[in-house]
Symmetry: C2
Subunit: 759 residues, 2 copies
C-alpha cells in the first residue's frame, strides 16, 4: 500500500469547534434585515376537498403580512421529485393530515403561527385509505392512480416454483415494521432571500442542496442560474433531509418572492413529525428453500411499503429494498415482487438503510428459521451460503472484488464467542440471555435506479497563502464529510490538513452532485476532489521538485512528499512555500473535478443486471436479555464487523458504526409512531420513544478493509450499513434467548410477551 499522511488517521473533526461552542449557524440562526416569518396552514384531516381558504380572521393578528396559496406559484405547481405528483401547495385536494395547504407570512414567527392557526380552510372530507395492504386490494378506495400502486419492481431469476418443489427445507413468514422518525436535533427550516434581478438565495438545512435547487427553480419559474442554495450547518439528516427540505425551502421561497423580503420558515417539532418524511412501514412475506446440505436454493418475496400520500422517494426506496430483498446469499432461483402503496398518511421517504432494514429484518429473521429447519447453527448456515468474491447476486451481478463478508462473519463469530453462546442460551431468574446474528450487503451509491444522479463535482482552490478551499456538492450533516473530504484533499495535494477547509454546499460552486445519501459521499465527492486536485498536485509537485533542485538538492534519490513537506536529497520545502512559488509562476491553482459512477446494467423487466458499482458489508451479533415476566428486551452488546473498503478516518467510522447500531436498535425495540383513523397520535418526543445513551449497548466494532480500486484511497461507503442488520440480530437473539419469534418491529415487550405465552 502507498504510504499515507492523512487518510487512515483519526484526525479531528473540522466542525468540532463550531458545534461544541455553539458558534455553528443553523438555518434558524440565519437572520436578515427586513426578514419576515412564515408558518404553515395544515390540513386537519386525512383527505379533504378544499372548498375555500380564508384569512379574514388571520388578518387581524398584529404583524400579519399575507397568505400564500397555490395561486402565488409563478412556476409549475409540481415538486420535481421522482414522479412529480406532489404539488408545492394543493389546489383542490389535500391528501394527508398535516399537509401544508397554505402559508402565512408575518413580522414575527409568533405572529405567523398565531395567524396560521386562524386561517380557515373550508373543506369536505373524502374517503381515505390508511393501510397499505388494504390499499392494494381490488375494492379499495382509489387515492392514487388506478390501483394505489406508486411503484413496483420484480426480480426474476431461475425457476422458483420448481426449486421450492424440490427443496429439502422451506420456510415462510410474514413480517412487518413500523415507521421510524429521523429525530434529527434540528427541525426542518429555510430562509429565502430575494436577490436583485429576480434571483433567490435559499439558506437551507438539507442533505440535498441540488434537490432544493430543482424545487425552488420550479416553484418560482426562474432559471437555475438565478437560484443559489446555501446549505446551512445541518443538525442531523439520516435521510430526513433528503427530499423534504426542498419542499420547505420552496415554501419559504414562494413567501419571499411574494413579499419581496427575506422569509424564514422553521418547523416546530410537531409539524415536522406530521408532515416530513419517515422510514416507510414495511410488510413482507418471504419464503426460502434449501437443499438437504443446507444450501439455499430459492427465495420468494412479496414486499410492500407504505408510501403515504405522495410518491416522493418511494420508488427509489422500494428499488433498493427489492435488489437486497433476498439477503447476501448465493441463491440461484429468486422471485421478488415489490410494491409501494399509497395511503392518506405522511409520505414516507429516505431513512438510513433506505428500504433495506425492513426487508432485512424479514429475511434475516427467516434465515435463522431456515437454519434451524436445516439443523444448522445460524452462523454456519450463513457461511455456507454467503456471497463471496466471484459470486453472483440475485440480480446476476458478479462481485469482482472488495467483498469481505465471510471474513466479517468469522470475525464477529469469533469475537462474540458465538459458537458457545448460541448453543447455550442462559436463563437466570426471569432474565433469559441469548445471542442473534445477521449478515448484510449494501449497494454503495445510487445504483442503476439513480444512475442519472450518480455523479459529483468538486472545486479545489489553492490560495496564495497555501490555504486550501474545497467545495463539494454533498453535504455535511453530522456524519463527518467535511473532515473525511478534507483528509482526501490534503492527502492528494500533500497540503497540511489544518490548512484545508471544506465548506458547506453552495449550489453555484459545483455542478449538481446528486443527493447526500446512499453512503455515497466519500466515494463520489472524494473521487471528484481527487480529480480536481490531481492537476494541481502535478503543478505543485513539479514546482517543489524544481525548487529543491534550485536549492541544490541531489535529485537521484527522487522526491518524497509527506505531511505537507517535500523532501529530496536532504533538503525540504513546505507546501506553503511551494504554493507561493506556483502563484509566482502564475500556475492554475483552482480546478473543478467531476466523477461519474461506473455504468450499471440493471434492467427493470426481470431485475437482472449490475445494480450497483460496489457493495459494503456487515455482520452483526446482538446479545440480549429478555425479561420473561414483562417481555422487556435489553441489548447488552453488539459485535459488528464492516467491510466498507479503506477507512479514511477510524474515529469517525467508529462514530458512524455506533450511531448506526444505536439507531437500528432504537427502531428495533422502541420507536413506535401511531396513526389512528389517519391522524398521527404521538407526534412528539414525549410519546414517541427513542433510544438514548442510557440505552446504548456495549459495542465491539471491527473493520476489515477490502480495498475498492475505484474508491478514493480505496474507500467504499459506510453511513448506512451499520443500521441495517441490527433489528434481525436483536430479533434472532430474542428467539435464541427465550424462543419468542417476534415478526413485527418494534419488538415491543407486549409482542415478546405474547409470543412467550404462545410458546
Amino acid at each position: 500500500m502507498e504510504k499515507l499522511s492523512y487518510v487512515g488517521k483519526s484526525l479531528p473533526r473540522k466542525d468540532a469547534e463550531i458545534k461544541a461552542t455553539g458558534a455553528a449557524q443553523y438555518a434558524a440562526d440565519r437572520d436578515f434585515a427586513g426578514m419576515l416569518h412564515a408558518a404553515a396552514v395544515r390540513s386537519p384531516r386525512p383527505r379533504i376537498k378544499i372548498l375555500s381558504i380564508s384569512d379574514a380572521k388571520a388578518r387581524k393578528v398584529p404583524g400579519y403580512v399575507t397568505l400564500v396559496t397555490y395561486r402565488d406559484i409563478k412556476g409549475v405547481n409540481k415538486w420535481p421529485v421522482v414522479m412529480q405528483d406532489y404539488p408545492f401547495l394543493p389546489e383542490r385536494e389535500a391528501r394527508f393530515a398535516g399537509e401544508t395547504v397554505a402559508l402565512v407570512v408575518a413580522d414575527t414567527a409568533r405572529a405567523a403561527r398565531k395567524a396560521a392557526a386562524l386561517v380557515e380552510i373550508k373543506y369536505r372530507e373524502l374517503p381515505y385509505v390508511d393501510d397499505p395492504l388494504k390499499a392494494l386490494e381490488k375494492g379499495a378506495v382509489k387515492i392514487y392512480g388506478r390501483d394505489n400502486v406508486i411503484s413496483s419492481f420484480v426480480i426474476k431469476r431461475g425457476a422458483v416454483d420448481e426449486a421450492f418443489r424440490k427443496a429439502a427445507f422451506t420456510v415462510e413468514g410474514e413480517f412487518s415494521t413500523n415507521y421510524q422518525v429521523h429525530a434529527y436535533l434540528e427541525t426542518q427550516g429555510s430562509v429565502a432571500v430575494p436577490e436583485a434581478g429576480g434571483g433567490m438565495t435559499v439558506h437551507s438545512t438539507t442533505q440535498c442542496p441540488f434537490y432544493v435547487l430543482d424545487a425552488v427553480s420550479a416553484a418560482l419559474g426562474i432559471p437555475y442560474h438565478k437560484v443559489k442554495i446555501l446549505q446551512t450547518v445541518t443538525g442531523g439528516g439520516f435521510g430526513g433531509k433528503e427530499d423534504v427540505p426542498a419542499l420547505v425551502a420552496s415554501h419559504a421561497a414562494l413567501c419571499a418572492a411574494k413579499t419581496g423580503r427575506p422569509v424564514k420558515l422553521i418547523y416546530g417539532r410537531k409539524e415536522d413529525f406530521q408532515s416530513m418524511s419517515k422510514r416507510h412501514p414495511g410488510w413482507a412475506r418471504v419464503s426460502y428453500a434449501a437443499d438437504k446440505n443446507g444450501k439455499i436454493t430459492a427465495c420468494r418475496v412479496k414486499y410492500v411499503l407504505d408510501g403515504g400520500a405522495y410518491s416522493t422517494l418511494s420508488p427509489i426506496v422500494l428499488w433498493r429494498g427489492t435488489v437486497h430483498a433476498a439477503g447476501p446469499y448465493k441463491i440461484p432461483n429468486v422471485g421478488i415482487e415489490t410494491f409501494a402503496a399509497a395511503t392518506n398518511k405522511v409520505p414516507a421517504g429516505a431513512f438510513r438503510g433506505f428500504g433495506q432494514p425492513q426487508i432485512c429484518f424479514a429475511q434475516e429473521s427467516l434465515i435463522d428459521e431456515l437454519a434451524e429447519k436445516a439443523g444448522l447453527d445460524p452462523v454456519r448456515f450463513r457461511l455456507k451460503n454467503l456471497l463471496e468474491p466471484g459470486d453472483r447476486t440475485v440480480t446476476g451481478q458478479r462481485l469482482k472484488s472488495s467483498c469481505g463478508l465471510s471474513e466479517l462473519v468469522q470475525a464477529v463469530r469469533s469475537r462474540s464467542g458465538w459458537d458457545k453462546k448460541a448453543a447455550t442460551p442462559q436463563v437466570r431468574g426471569d432474565i433469559a440471555t441469548g445471542i442473534g446474528f445477521s449478515a448484510v450487503y449494501y449497494g454503495v451509491g445510487l445504483g442503476a435506479k439513480g444512475r442519472y444522479l450518480d455523479r459529483a463535482g468538486a472545486l479545489v482552490n489553492v490560495y496564495k497563502d497555501g490555504s486550501v478551499g474545497v467545495n463539494v456538492g454533498n453535504a455535511e450533516m453530522g456524519q463527518g464529510a467535511l473532515t473525511v473530504l478534507a483528509q482526501i484533499a490534503a492527502e492528494t495535494l500533500n497540503a497540511p490538513y489544518a490548512g484545508v477547509r471544506v465548506e458547506e454546499v453552495d449550489s453555484s460552486k459545483v455542478p449538481d452532485s446528486g443527493p447526500t445519501v446512499a453512503s455515497r459521499t466519500t466515494l463520489m465527492s472524494g473521487n471528484a476532489i481527487i480529480e480536481a486536485a490531481t492537476p494541481i498536485r502535478e503543478r505543485v509537485f513539479k514546482t517543489a521538485h524544481s525548487m529543491l533542485t534550485g536549492l541544490g538538492a541531489d535529485p537521484s534519490g527522487g522526491m518524497t512528499a509527506a505531511g505537507g513537506v517535500f523532501s529530496m536529497g536532504g533538503r525540504s520545502v513546505a507546501f506553503k512555500a511551494v504554493v507561493a512559488e506556483c502563484w509566482n509562476r502564475r500556475l492554475k491553482m483552482a480546478e473543478q473535478g467531476w466523477y461519474a459512477a461506473p455504468r450499471t446494467t440493471f434492467r427493470l423487466r426481470d431485475g437482472q443486471g449490475d445494480a450497483y458499482g460496489v457493495y459494503s458489508y456487515s455482520a452483526d451479533a446482538a446479545e440480549v436479555e429478555v425479561d420473561l415476566k414483562t417481555g422487556v428486551t435489553r441489548v447488552k452488546k453488539i459485535w459488528a464487523a464492516y467491510d466498507v473498503g479503506k477507512i479514511v478516518n477510524p474515529r469517525l467510522a467508529l462514530g458512524q458504526a455506533q450511531g448506526g447500531i444505536l439507531q437500528g436498535m432504537s427502531w428495533a425495540l422502541y420507536e413506535n409512531l401511531v396513526y389512528k383513523n389517519g391522524i398521527m397520535v404521538n407526534p412528539n418526543f414525549t410519546d414517541y420513544v427513542i433510544a438514548t445513551t442510557a440505552d446504548k449497548p456495549e459495542y465491539d466494532i471491527t473493520f476489515i478493509e477490502k480495498p475498492y480500486a475505484e474508491g478514493p484511497y480505496r474507500a467504499k461507503g459506510m453511513g448506512e450499513v451499520p443500521l441495517i442488520g441490527v433489528a434481525p440480530a436483536v430479533a434472532n437473539a430474542i428467539k435464541n434467548a427465550c424462543g419468542a419469534r417476534v415478526k413485527s418491529v418494534p419488538l415491543l415487550p407486549e409482542k415478546v410477551w405474547k409470543e412467550l405465552k404462545k410458546g
Copy 2:
C-alpha cells in the same frame, strides 16, 4: 472571419434592469441582522505624532459600542499593497489630513459619526511636505525613506545627448497637471460579516476583490480560505476602487472581528474626497529633437508624480507613465527618468489612464510645438513619426501586429476636416475656434511591472436547464464587463445569450485574477472564460452531433452552431435540449478556466524589453471655442478613432469612448482639487467642479478593429484609452484657436487668459 452570433453585437446590458429600476444592491444596501455601524476618526493635520486617543466623550453617545485602534489588529498592521508602508491604522504617526486613525462602532451610522467626532486625538504636529518637487530637493523634510522618493524608473535608449546636439529642431517645456477625483456616484463602503469558526465575509464595492482578500486576511491574521469577498454592485470605479476599498473593507472587518457582529462602514463624500485615492498630480519636463525632415530623433523626459503620504499604487502608476512617456513614436534615442515623490497629502493612485494622461498631456502638447518648429502640420508631423506594425517602441519592443494607429490618425484627420480647419482657425467676435490633435498608445493589461498579477480565472457552470452561470475574478463597475463576458461565454458555448449570467465576484469561486484595471478585463477574463468553456463546448457539440445523428440528420454537410441552435442536414436541436442530454450522459458541465498573459521581458536597469503583450491606440481631434475676453474654453466636438481590437459590444464600446472622452475633457478643463497648507479645501461637489452632460461635446467616434490573435475573439482592451489623449488635443486646439499654450491642467480660463495677455 468566423461567423459570430453574439460577439460584435450591441446586445443589451445584463445589469440594465436592476440599475434602472433601483433593484441593484450596492454596499450601502446590504443589511444584516444585528449589524453595527462604523465611522472613521481622522487625522486633522497633515502630519502628526499621535500621543493618545480617548473615547471618554464618545462613550456618552447613546448606541456607542467600541473604539477600534491599531491595538485591535490581530494580524499584521501593514496593508499588503505594493510596498507595504501603509498601516491599516497608524500607531504613532499619521501622515496626511484625513487619514483614518481609529474607528468608532455604534448601533447606528448616525451614532457612530457623532461619537467619532467626539473621539479626542492628542497629538503633536510634525513638519510636513506638500509639494512633490520640493520633496525631492536635498534639504527637504524627510517624510519617506531617505529621500522622499517612493519609486523611480529609467528608460535609456540610444545616445540622447548626441541626438540633441545634432538635431535640426528641439523643443522643451515644463507641464503640470492637477489631481482628478474619481467622482464615482457610490462612495466607498463595505459590510463585514463574521462567520462561525473565525471566518469573515466582506461585501465590498470594489474593482479588485482579491486586493480586498489580501488585506482582510492580513489585517485579521486568518488564512485566505476563511475570508470571502463578495463584490457588491459597484457604482463606478475609474481606478478609485482599485486599491483603497481594501483599506475600507479591512477597517470594517477589524470592527466586525472585535465586536463579533456585522459592521457596515459607508463613506460620506467629504471623507471619500479627503482620504481615498486620486489621480496623481504630475509634473514633467519634456524635450524632443527632430531632424530637418521632421523625424523625431530623441526625447528626454523628467516626470514626477505627487504620490502622497503612502506609496499605494504609485510605483505601478509611475511605471506605466514611464513606459509611455515619449508618446507613440519611433524615437531612436530616449532618456526618461521618473519619480514618485512622497508628500503629506492624500495617497494618489489609480485613475483611468494610470499615469499616462499626465505625461501624455505634456508630450502631445510638445509634439505640436515641435511640428510647428519643423514647419509641419501637427497631423502630418505625427504621421511621419508614428509607430507602425514592425516598429519598435522606446523600450525596444517590436509591435508585431494589431497596430492601427496611422489608420486612426488618417480617419480622424479626414472625418474632422482637419486639413482645412487646422490651417484656418476662425475668430468671430470674442470667440476663437480652433482644432487640436493627439495620438496615444496604451499597453493593455498590467505589463511587466504587474506580471505576477496578470492572470485570471473563470468558472463556467452549465446548469441542467441550460442556463449558464459564469464567475470571474474581474469586476463590473459600470463598464459593461458582465455583458461583454456573457457575450463571450454565449459565443463559445453556443448558448442563448439571455440564458447566460455573469455574476459579481465571489473571491471563493475563482482564483486571484488580479485587479480590474488596465483595460484588462475583456482580454483576461474573456480568455479565462474561453478556456473554461472550451471543454464544455466540446461535450455540448459532440452531444448535439450525436442527437442530430440520432434524429436521422445527414451528417455529410457537417453541423452548424449559431444563436443557441445546432443544425445538421435540415434538422436542428436547441442548446437547452442538448444540455439536458449532456446531463443525462453525466458529462462534466462545469470547468475552471485560467489565462496568464504572455511573458514580458522588460528590465528595470535600462527600461528596455517588451513592456506589454499588446497595445491599444487612439487618435483624437478636439474642436474648441475660446472666449478671448474671459479665457473660457468650450469643447464643441471630439473626433476620436480607436484600435482596441475586435469590438465585442459596439454600443458599450461607444459608451466607454464617450465616457472616457467626457472624463478626460472634465479633467482637462474643470477639475481642480485645491490643497492649502496640507489641507484639502474643496472636498465636495459644490466646490470641486466636474463636467456634466450639459458640458458634453459632440462625439464622432470610429473604431478600426485590428485583430489581436491572443485576445478573446481578437479583442484587446478599451477602458482607458479614450481618456488619455483628450487633454492635449484640447490644449492644442486652444493654441490653434488663439495662440495660448497653456501648460497646466486644468486649462482654467484664468490660465488661458494669462497666456493671451502674454501673447
